[in-house]
Subunit: 329 residues, 2 copies
C-alpha cells in the first residue's frame, strides 16, 4: 500500500523529512507548503541540493488542492500549540491526517487543556487523525520508557536522562538552548519562555497518566550550562564563562513522594547518552550508548508514524494510542 | 474501568500472574482453570501460600461458566501452538479475549501458517481477540527492538542478544535448557525438539516482517553450554563438563545478506544482559544492564496487555497490532 504524503513546513527538520520520504518505496511524495518567501515557488529537489524534482514549494494560502490529495501531512513548523492551531485546521479541513513535530501537541491535555479539546474537535469534525511526535518529546523521554514499563509489576520511581552533544545538532536547536549567551541574558530569556526545550512537561504527563499518577504535580527548572573552555561551532564562537547549553529538569510528585525525574542536558561537548532507570519489580536499567541522534531520529519517527496514523481512528491521538511504532517501508 | 480476569493454567508462571493480579486495583479476579489433579479443587489463595481466597481451581471440563464471565483470560499452559488449540477454542467459545504465554502463538504466521489461520478463524467467529506474548518471545528480543526501529531512517542489520543467568530462573526453564545433561543427551534431545527455547524463530519473523524482509529466510542453531566448574542449584547438581544451559542463534537473511541475528544464551552463572544493536541511520546501541528478569517480567506483560487486548478488534493479533504496551492499573 502506498501512502500519499504532503509536508507543511520545510525548515531544517522538514527538509530531512523530504530527503527520507524520497527514499521510501511505499510513499508517494506530493509536495510541500511553507510561508517563507525565500523558498515558496522554488523546486523542492533543488532546495535540498538534489536533482530538480519538478515540484515547487506552495504558499500556505494556495495549499488546499495539495493537502486534499494527501493521506497524511507531515507538519513541521513550530513548538507551541497556540501558534499551529490554524495550520492544523487547514490540514484537517482538507481531509488529511497529520503527524506533527509540534512539541506541545505530543501530549497537550494537562498543559493546554482548552487547546487540546479544540484540536480534538477539529480532528473529529473533519474525520482525521492528528498526532504529535518526534524523538523528544515522542520517544526518548516518554514512549520508550512507557513500553519498557510493560515488563513491570510495579513502579516506585522512574528516572529518565537524556544528554545531547549540542555541537552536532542543527543551529536552530543551538539557538533554543542559549548557546553563546551571557548567564544573565539566558535567565531573562528563560523567564519570558524564549529559551529552553519545549516538551519535557508533555513527556512527564504522558508518563504520569500511563503510570496512574494523574493526580500528581509536575514542576520544571531550567539552568544554564556554562562553558568551561572555548568552543567554536559552525555558527557560534563561545568563550569560557558564556552559556553553552541547558540543564533542564522536570519532577513528578504524587502525595508528596517524587515518582518521576526527567533530566535533559543539551550542551556543546556533552557525551550523548539516553537512559531510563525504573525502580520497580523487576528493576530495569536501559541505556542507549551514544544516545539517540535527534536530527536523524525525528524525521524518521515523523514519517514512520504515517502508516500508524493513517490506520488510526479520527481525533487527537498520542503515541499511547498508536499500534506499535516501527520503521515503515 | 475494572477488567474481569480468569486464568487458564496455574503452573509457575500462572501463579505469578495470580499474585500480580491480586495487587491490581483495576482487576476483578474471577478464578483459574487447570487439569492437574494435584491442584483442581484447591483454594487458590492457599495454593499461593497466601490467605484463603474462597475461590477453588476449576477443572477444564467445568470451566465454561467461569470463562463466560471473563473479559480477558490469561492462558499459561505450554509452548507449542498445536497443544493449546483446543484450550484457546474453549476460551474463545466462552466469549473471552485471550492473552497467552504460548511461545509459538506470539507470531505464528511463518512457522505455523495453517494453525495461525485456524486460531484467527476461532477468534473472529467468536468475536474475541487472541494475543501471544511474554518477555521472550513478546518483548526482549522483538517488541523493544521494533519500537526502537521507529527512530531509524534505514536499517542494514540488527543484532539482538539476550543473556540470562539461568540459576535465578524457575526450575521448568532450567529443565528446558538441559541443565545437568551430558552433551550427547543434550544433542539428542535438541534433535527431537525437547530441549531449547521456543520462540526465537517467532521473534525473528516478527522482525523480518516489520523491517520489510518478509521474502528472507530464517535459520536456527542450538548448542549446549558446558559447565567449566561445579554448580549446585536448588534443583540441580551439575559437574564440570556437563551441560549448564543453551546457546541458541537465529539468523535472518535476505538476498544472501545477513540482516538479523538473535542470540540467546541461558546458562547457570551467566551475567544477565539484554542488548539491541542497530546498524542503520542513525545507528543505535540499546542495553538493559543486568537484563530483564523473565520470571518477574512475563507475568507482568501478560497481565499488563489485558487492557490493550480488551480494546482491540477481534482476531489473532500480535504485539505489532496493540496500542502502546505499558504497565496497567
Amino acid at each position: 500500500v502506498t501512502l500519499k504524503i504532503a509536508q507543511y513546513g520545510l525548515g531544517q527538520i522538514g527538509r530531512e523529512v523530504a530527503r527520507f520520504a524520497f527514499q521510501k518505496r511505499k510513499i508517494e511524495y506530493l509536495g510541500a507548503v511553507d510561508v517563507d518567501p525565500q523558498i515558496v515557488g522554488r523546486d523542492i529537489g533543488e532546495l535540498l541540493s538534489l536533482d530538480r524534482l519538478g515540484i515547487s514549494v506552495i504558499h500556505e494560502k494556495e495549499s488546499a488542492p495539495l493537502l486534499r490529495q494527501a493521506d497524511v501531512t507531515i507538519h513541521t513548523t513550530s513548538s507551541r500549540l497556540k501558534g499551529v492551531i490554524d495550520q492544523l485546521m487547514n490540514i484537517a479541513k482538507a481531509g488529511s491526517d497529520v503527524v506533527s513535530s509540534c512539541e506541545e501537541l505530543s501530549y497537550p491535555f494537562h498543559e493546554n487543556p482548552a487547546l487540546s479539546r479544540r484540536v480534538n474537535e477539529i480532528a473529529e469534525a473533519n474525520g482525521v487523525t492528528i498526532l504529535g511526535t518526534g524523538v523528544n518529546p515522542g520517544f526518548a523521554m516518554d514512549t520508550i520508557a512507557i513500553v519498557t514499563s510493560a515488563c513491570c509489576q510495579e513502579i516506585a520511581m522512574i528516572e529518565i536522562h537524556r544528554i545531547v552533544d549540542a555541537s552536532v545538532r542543527r543551529v536552530s536547536l543551538q539557538k533554543k538552548i542559549g548557546v553563546g549567551m551571557s548567564k544573565e541574558d539566558f535567565i531573562e530569556k528563560v523567564r519570558v519562555g524564549l529559551i529552553g526545550h519545549v516538551g519535557l512537561k508533555e513527556s512527564a504527563w504522558m508518563l504520569m497518566d500511563s503510570f496512574d499518577w494523574s493526580s500528581g504535580t509536575v514542576t520544571e527548572s531550567i539552568e544554564p550550562v556554562i562553558a568551561d573552555r572555548h568552543f567554536r561551532t559552525e555558527h557560534f564562537d563561545v568563550s569560557t564563562g558564556r552559556v553553552c547549553g541547558v540543564d533542564q529538569t522536570v519532577s513528578g510528585q504524587v502525595a508528596g513522594r517524587r515518582v518521576l525525574m526527567l533530566r535533559l542536558q543539551m550542551y556543546l561537548g556533552a557525551k550523548s547518552l539516553d537512559s531510563v532507570y525504573i525502580q520497580g519489580r523487576p528493576p530495569l536499567r536501559m541505556i542507549f550508548e551514544g544516545g539517540i541522534h535527534g536530527d536523524a531520529a525525528t524525521p524518521a519517527i515523523l514519517l514512520n508514524m504515517a502508516p500508524r496514523v493513517a490506520e488510526a481512528s479520527p481525533g487527537l491521538k498520542t503515541m499511547l494510542d498508536m499500534a506499535l511504532p516501527r520503521i515503515s517501508g
